[in-house]
Symmetry: C3
Subunit: 159 residues, 3 copies
């Protein structure tokens, strides 16, 4: 039996539009029967945050990062045309009008298609993000986990 | 006969400098006899816009996007050092001095080298961009078109 | 003897966090016995600048670029949460607290692991950067050098 092709996406960006692109490509590759992993690192981790105020024990700096960073996919800014927050609303408006899937739905779809959502443990450590603050059913790993997958990837992208 | 190697570039960015990098790599790969495709998605579509004011029928939101986004490669901003528009002029100035090709020429060269310029139909739909507003002789497709090419790519990049 | 796998990273970005990601991936791949090259182009060249004021002969425009761009890895801004310079200090603070390697150390480690650090000659020409302003023991090349490596890459990324 032939092995499945692999698509590995490093999601570094914390922007709504770039995250959307990452998840659209990931879902597309899964539909083409690829084995897909999204490695969420740095600001890309914000896509995996729960939209709840949790109060895990944190240092002052960790609390500051926690407050400054968006809590979950639906609260992320645009990479362009942010316009004091109007940009994301516009994009979400036209997406709704065109029946395009909003980001939280794209993430749900990724889970249903068995795409591996991986959180970078080094970044979690740096920014003080705790497992209880992130979505359930995700995996954890560092750069070694990425290289192990990436070196066999048919499609490798850094977004 | 050996098959040609493939280079597939997803151009997501609408920045002048990143678009330049994408087209320089694409033209370089074509010179090395690669089969090259640039998938223009999201703000990357602006590189394919004609520098003309066209008046296709559009909704209010589509008109707003149309006005806010740069019309064609020559009007795109820099990703860094934008300086109220001075940055692009400086870059174009030094490029001229060094006989480096400006972006519109790099796009023409890409066409001459038979690089496939593909516009993402999903983004066109979202942002309300019509075929008549984009350059002639380009192709159209969605994420499926990308995966089909990307999974055989020797070089796959997201820019 | 099997050939080593190759990881090729185009570092376009001049941001501290993105450059950190590039060097962490590069060092990780080298630890997995990959042959690794980082192609520093556009703002990515700033990571290779010496932190010294040198006075090579330059045109007015070259001097301006030289002044406006950060001199070396330790002076680069963040891609997000720059906060008038507070962001990089915060990141460096938490990195120190967690014993994470700061960027200049990651670059030293890359050299020790025989990662090839390559400076894009076309960009040097455009921005007026001279060899004497860049780190010692690096290599020089253009897009042809990239394609030659990239087309055999197991992992190719644009950062």
């Amino acid at each position: 039996m032939a092995e499945k092709k692999k698509t590995n996406i490093i999601l570094f960006s914390g922007d709504y539009d770039k995250t959307m692109a990452a998840y659209i490509i990931a879902n597309g590759a899964a539909a083409y029967d690829h084995d897909v992993t999204i490695f969420h690192t740095f600001w890309g981790l914000n896509a995996l945050r729960k939209n709840e105020k949790l109060q895990p024990k944190k240092s002052f700096m960790e609390k500051m990062f926690g407050k400054m960073m968006p809590r979950g996919a639906d609260n992320m800014p645009l990479s362009k045309m942010q316009f004091l927050g109007m940009g994301p609303k516009m994009i979400k408006g036209v997406m709704k009008k065109h029946n395009a899937m909003p980001l939280p739905d794209l993430i749900d779809m990724a889970k249903e298609q068995d795409i591996t959502l991986l959180a970078c443990t080094m970044t979690m450590d740096l920014l003080g993000l705790k497992k209880e603050e992130l979505l359930d059913d995700i995996e954890y790993g560092g750069v070694a986990a990425y290289i192990a997958e990436g070196e066999d990837g048919a499609i490798n992208l850094f977004i």
